[in-house]
Amino acid sequence: MSRRGVVHTLDSFFAALIIVTALLYASQFPRERDYLEDKNLDVMGMQVLVRLDGNGTLGRLVDSGNWDDVELVLRMALPTGVSFNLTVLDEQGDIVNTRVVSNGGLLGRKIESVEYILAVESGDCPLYRLRLQLGG
């Protein structure tokens, strides 16, 4: 009689353990999700570059070689938590940025890259290819 009782108790204990374990696992699913998970970094990068290029600002900054300001506008335009590294190539494919344009190196679980072709509103119409790497 006491053995049967022990077996019943063990059965119930295992059953309860299984249910509790399942509940614990289920509670581990994130309720609030970071929007950066849903947003593709390459899409975000392209949209930022298009926005900056809309009024010619990006082209003027790149063409003047003002890398501090290029870095500043990218820092302002990209969300916090996204790291970036920008490489600027001229029409012949040579790198023209004389210093690293980045907010501290590429960090994050996901690294993506986007390329942007740029024509500058300047007398001789210089053309550039921007390679923006993003981490988040």
Binding site: R4, V7, H8, L10, D11, S12, F14, A15, A16, I18, I19, T21, A22, L23, Y25, A26, F29, P30, R33, D38, K39, N40, D42, V43, M46, Q47, L49, V50, D53, G54, G56, G59, E91, V114, E115, Y116, I117, L118, A119, V120, E121, S122, G123, D124, C125, L127, R129
Partner: protein, 257 residues
Amino acid sequence: MKGMRGRRRRGQILIIAAFGMAIVLLSTQAYIYKVSRGHVSSGYDSLGDYVLSVKLGSEHAVTASLINVSNGGAAANLGDNLDRWEAFVAGDYRFGRCDLNSTLASQPPYSQGIWLDWGTDGVGVSSACSDFTMNMSGRGVEVDLSYEVNVTTSVLVSGSYSDLGGDSAVTVIFKLYNERSPTLENSTTLAYLKSGSWEDPTVLGDYSALDYGNGTYLYTFTDTIPESQIPVRVQAYDLRGVFVQAEATLLRDEGTP
């Protein structure tokens, strides 16, 4: 014995039922999590932004050419710059082959895509215009797009003068437009014709310039000008760097005695 087996089965059923409930719980939670994830069509978004970037680049290339030509460059620069831009775009295979073709506006008043009319009737125009067709194919993408890029800076000059007993009090109104919308100047040079030579009114004591902040500018000055009609010339750069010029002949204000 039967009773013992039945109890064991009841115990097994209890555990199996617990497993079943656990699976249902976990799969429900996983399903809710999956459904909550927004569907992100990154490829489509990127393609739209890419097409937009090519269109923006075309506009910048036309604007750059107009800056060049309006500042004394050859009209052929527009075609040369657009050829370079087309080749640059063609070298980008992100979504497959991309063919960009430009056709310079050739209908009058345009020639080689350029229209410069710095007239003496109070109107000045610097304009560049080109049609573009963009075809993308490959990698599951088919895009056929046509668009026109017209970059125009125009200026309207008007005014009058009143006779102040030998001196002429001149009023000049100057309006600047980008694509027919009022815009601000970057710099402006005003001159008036006196005894056959262009004079700078800023050296006059009572010269004043008023910026209305909406693309309209008012200049006033007084000088002794023998002619009964006073030609004035406005040379302006808009914020893009496009140069435009217009001349107008000012007549005596009929309201003055």
